[in-house]
């Protein structure tokens, strides 16, 4: 590896006016996403705000009702296969084939991506070793913990050295050490020219690794700026406070108290 992306000089990912409707109900409305090479964009939002739907539209797994998705200036939907050759994707849920081992899953993905066998084997062993799950490489994934599955997913997304990485809740289930490794990995990949979209609801991670943050609320983007600018503009100390200001409409302390009251109800 020379440390330079094949697409170092590309234009990255640009989505304009992305909208998704289900039976006339818009779950994502007019969202613009731009991720340039070398950039890590944080994509924040509460549960049900439309993050995963946006991510699925960006990867071509869900077709948008309106809007375009361009990668290096080309409409991804005109040639999804070509786009996906350069895409690495970690989905929100670790849905994997339970009867395959971690190694077999990576072999499947690598072969589908037409990687040479010798290179593929070398990469699989190295990635599994670096993520600390080589000893379980030949066990069926039905017996894997959530964190182990997540490591397999991250390895699968990196196997073919993609230009664009779309990570949907990549820290889900990972232990503290693995989270630290992941954060450093994202920073390193960005330094090597990868365009990275990092969808999460963990403020700390987003604040640490992302150069810019987009906040989604009820299907629409309510903020899109650098973390520093957002904090300055909204006079808040942390991204968590900014997020609370933007999307949390109820008083969290009050809601928590109400929940405790409901739990304490007696017949």
């Amino acid at each position: 590896m020379n440390g330079v992306s094949r697409n170092g000089g590309g234009r990255g990912l640009e989505a304009r006016g992305l909208t998704k409707r289900y039976s006339s109900v818009a779950v994502v409305r007019n969202v613009d996403v731009v991720v340039r090479p070398g950039e890590v964009i944080g994509y924040l939002g509460p549960n049900g705000s439309g993050k995963t739907t946006t991510v699925r539209m960006l990867t071509g797994l869900t077709e948008p009702s309106d809007g375009t998705v361009l990668h290096d200036g080309r409409d991804v939907y005109s040639d999804l296969v070509a786009f996906r050759r350069r895409l690495g994707y970690v989905p929100e849920e670790a849905h994997l084939y339970p009867f395959l081992s971690g190694r077999e899953f990576l072999e499947l993905v690598g072969r589908l991506r037409e990687l040479p066998v010798s290179l593929l084997e070398k990469k699989i062993v190295s990635l599994l070793e670096l993520f600390g799950i080589l000893s379980a490489a030949d066990q069926p994934m039905s017996g894997y913990s959530k964190g182990m599955k997540q490591k397999v997913l991250i390895s699968a997304a990196l196997l073919h050295d993609p230009d664009l990485l779309i990570l949907d809740e990549p820290e889900s289930g990972l232990d503290v050490t693995a989270v630290l490794v992941l954060r450093s990995l994202i920073t390193e990949l960005a330094r090597r020219g990868k365009a990275i979209l990092y969808s999460s609801h963990i403020m700390e991670s987003v604040e640490r690794v992302c150069s810019r943050v987009m906040v989604l609320h009820r299907g629409a983007v309510v903020a899109d700026d650098s973390t520093l600018n957002l904090r300055t503009l909204m006079s808040r100390d942390s991204l968590e406070d900014v997020f609370a200001e933007l999307v949390v409409q109820d008083n969290p302390a009050r809601t928590a108290s109400d929940i405790a009251d409901v739990a304490a109800m007696r017949a």
Binding site: L96, Y97, S101, L108, Q139, A156
Partner: protein
């Protein structure tokens, strides 16, 4: 033990047995259950009406003749109830115990383990009872009534016949259910959870093939019951569980017909037949007390064993044992060999994935077990028909014996063609969608290569020693070449119209098409034509020429397939099935 949590848990387990284990979690439960229920009721009605023809259209039906004929029918109903219930129980094999998910979800709740276990057991009993009732209720009501419709019988005697048949088929069904539960429980108790988990799938597949083959062979076997099996010197009599229940039924109501006078003057020929039937029944009658006692004792024993083992094995809610790893040398050796034969990476991906899904995914293993059972049954049938029709040529190559290979390979390939349409894991399809290069032809070629290995090469090699023993090693080689070339050609033909991505598309439930019976007869016709052609080639010493012709057909089909798939076409992974109303033409 509180009744409320147990009732709720029973309903929960029952829903899971139906939704997760019996039908696909993504299928419409009401539609699937309606279809299964309608199919079972129609099957029961059809069989009972068909079996009653010999009573309805016999102008000289006497009570003695009816008694003897009824033995075969009683065997058919008892064994059908037993094997069908055992098959259903085998289908939900993984759901026959409190599983890992139950342990993780319910283990944290303030519910006693024995409440959970009792609820699980109640759900299993309810599930099996619903199935047994749907299958057996109509025959139990209709068959006795049709059987005695031409005899002078009182209303109360008819009610007694109906009640006896209902009770006996219910007991047979219970025997089938508890026998599977007891086998599973015994293996788990003896081997321990870890070892049992490793071999459970193999045991399930073996039992499925055996029981399904027995079920499919019932119509042939039932005709022999009164002639050969229920003779005092017969060896089969105590070894066939359905016969125990036949004995029980005859002990309860056999006297109704056997003690009834003929009631009219019979022509001499009919009188002879009547006398012979009366003698046959009288001989068989001596066996009934022993058979009835065996039925009662063995049903009680198997029920107690199943219950005790169920309670013992589920006495603790424990997490599942760690999964076994694939042996490294085996994986590397097979992988390296296969890569020599399948060169292109995407084809390799599909080849290995097909093997892994077919051999490890429960629902795919079930499809293959069912097709193997059909293949075994059809092979037995082929030999029976072949030996009956070509007895004069017994020394030469009989078409029946030669038909075993094409029938077995054909049945397996049909099962394979169905299995590739079923997603390996619907929620994990994204992985293939994201990494797929868009070349359907290469992907399907990998699946076909795996299918050729498992369902053409392996059966041909497995049958070669049999043919070498039955004929000569040289003939066996010729038969193997023909089987290989014919199997490959059949595989190519079956996949000509296949446009989906194997194991990675949304599942489209198969419709019960009106063309299915035509397909069945076409299958029988073509396999027999193939066997006939093979026989002619073997007798004339032109086996190699026959195999070469088949191989040319295979190459032509392959070229046609390549031509049809020369340009990639837009591909829909998650094609949504038509709604039931549209399939039924109710959309206006």
């Amino acid at each position: 033990m509180s009744a409320v949590p147990r009732r709720l848990l029973t309903a929960h387990f029952l829903r899971r047995l139906i939704d997760d284990d019996l039908i696909s979690p993504n299928a419409d439960r009401h539609e699937s259950l309606s279809m299964i229920g309608a199919m079972l009721v129609s099957l029961g009605l059809f069989v009972s009406v068909l079996a009653s023809m010999r009573y309805l259209f016999n102008p000289w039906l006497t009570p003695a003749v009816a008694s003897v004929s009824a033995l075969g029918d009683h065997f058919l109903y008892a064994s059908a109830a037993m094997t069908a219930t055992a098959l259903l129980t085998l289908l939900v094999w993984d759901g026959l115990a409190v599983d890992a998910r139950d342990a993780s979800v319910l283990g944290a709740m303030p519910i006693r383990v024995r409440t959970i276990v009792a609820a699980k057991f109640s759900a299993l009993i309810t599930f099996a009872s619903m199935f047994a009732a749907a299958l057996n209720l109509v025959p139990s009501l209709v068959a006795p009534a049709l059987m005695v419709s031409k005899l002078r019988i009182s209303f109360f005697q008819l009610v007694a016949l109906i009640l006896a048949q209902t009770l006996v088929v219910a007991m047979s069904a219970a025997f089938g259910f508890f026998a599977v539960l007891a086998i599973r429980g015994l293996l788990q108790a003896l081997l321990g959870r870890t070892l049992f988990t490793r071999i459970a799938a193999i045991v399930q597949a073996t039992l499925l093939v055996s029981v399904a083959s027995a079920f499919l062979l019932l119509p042939i076997v039932a005709t022999r019951v009164s002639r050969t099996w229920l003779e005092p010197q017969s060896r089969a009599v105590m070894m066939a569980p359905p016969l125990w229940f036949v004995g029980l039924q005859e002990m309860m109501t056999g006297h109704i017909l056997s003690s009834m006078p003929a009631g009219r003057r019979l022509p001499p020929r009919i009188a002879t037949v009547d006398a012979r039937a009366a003698e046959t029944y009288a001989n068989a009658r001596r066996l009934f007390p022993g058979l009835a006692a065996t039925a009662a004792v063995k049903l009680t024993a198997v029920t107690v064993i199943a219950l005790v083992l169920f309670a013992w094995n589920n006495r603790r809610m424990v997490p599942p044992p760690p999964a076994a790893a694939t042996a490294g040398w085996l994986r590397r050796g097979f992988s390296a060999t296969a890569r020599l034969l399948v060169r292109q990476p995407e084809t390799q991906a599909s080849f290995f994935f097909t093997l892994q899904a077919l051999l490890r995914s429960p629902q795919h293993r079930l499809s293959l077990a069912a097709s193997l059972a059909f293949g075994v049954t059809a092979s037995v049938f082929a030999v029976a028909v072949g030996s009956a029709t070509r007895r004069a040529e017994a020394a030469a190559f009989t078409a029946g014996v030669l038909a075993i290979q094409p029938v077995l390979i054909g049945a397996l390939l049909i099962g394979f063609r169905h299995a590739v349409r079923v997603p390996a894991e619907l929620a994990a399809n994204w992985a293939v969608q994201v990494a797929w290069t868009g070349n359907t032809r290469r992907h399907i070629a990998g699946a076909k290569a795996a299918g050729a290995l498992l369902f053409v090469v392996v059966p041909v090699l497995a049958l070669a020693p049999f043919y070498a023993t039955a004929f000569t090693p040289r003939d066996a080689l010729g038969i193997a070449l023909c089987g290989l070339a014919g199997g490959l050609a059949a595989l190519e033909a079956m996949f000509l119209s296949y446009t989906k991505l194997p194991f990675a598309c949304g599942y489209l439930p198969a419709n019960l098409k009106t063309l299915a019976p035509i397909g069945f007869f076409a299958f029988i016709y073509f396999t027999y034509q193939f066997a006939h052609g093979e026989r002619v080639a073997l007798l004339s010493g032109t086996t190699t020429g026959f195999a070469v012709r088949l191989f040319i057909v295979f190459l032509v089909l392959r070229a046609v397939d390549a031509f049809r798939r020369r340009t990639p076409r837009p591909f829909e992974f998650d094609e949504i099935p038509e709604p039931p109303t549209q399939r039924l033409g109710l959309n206006g």
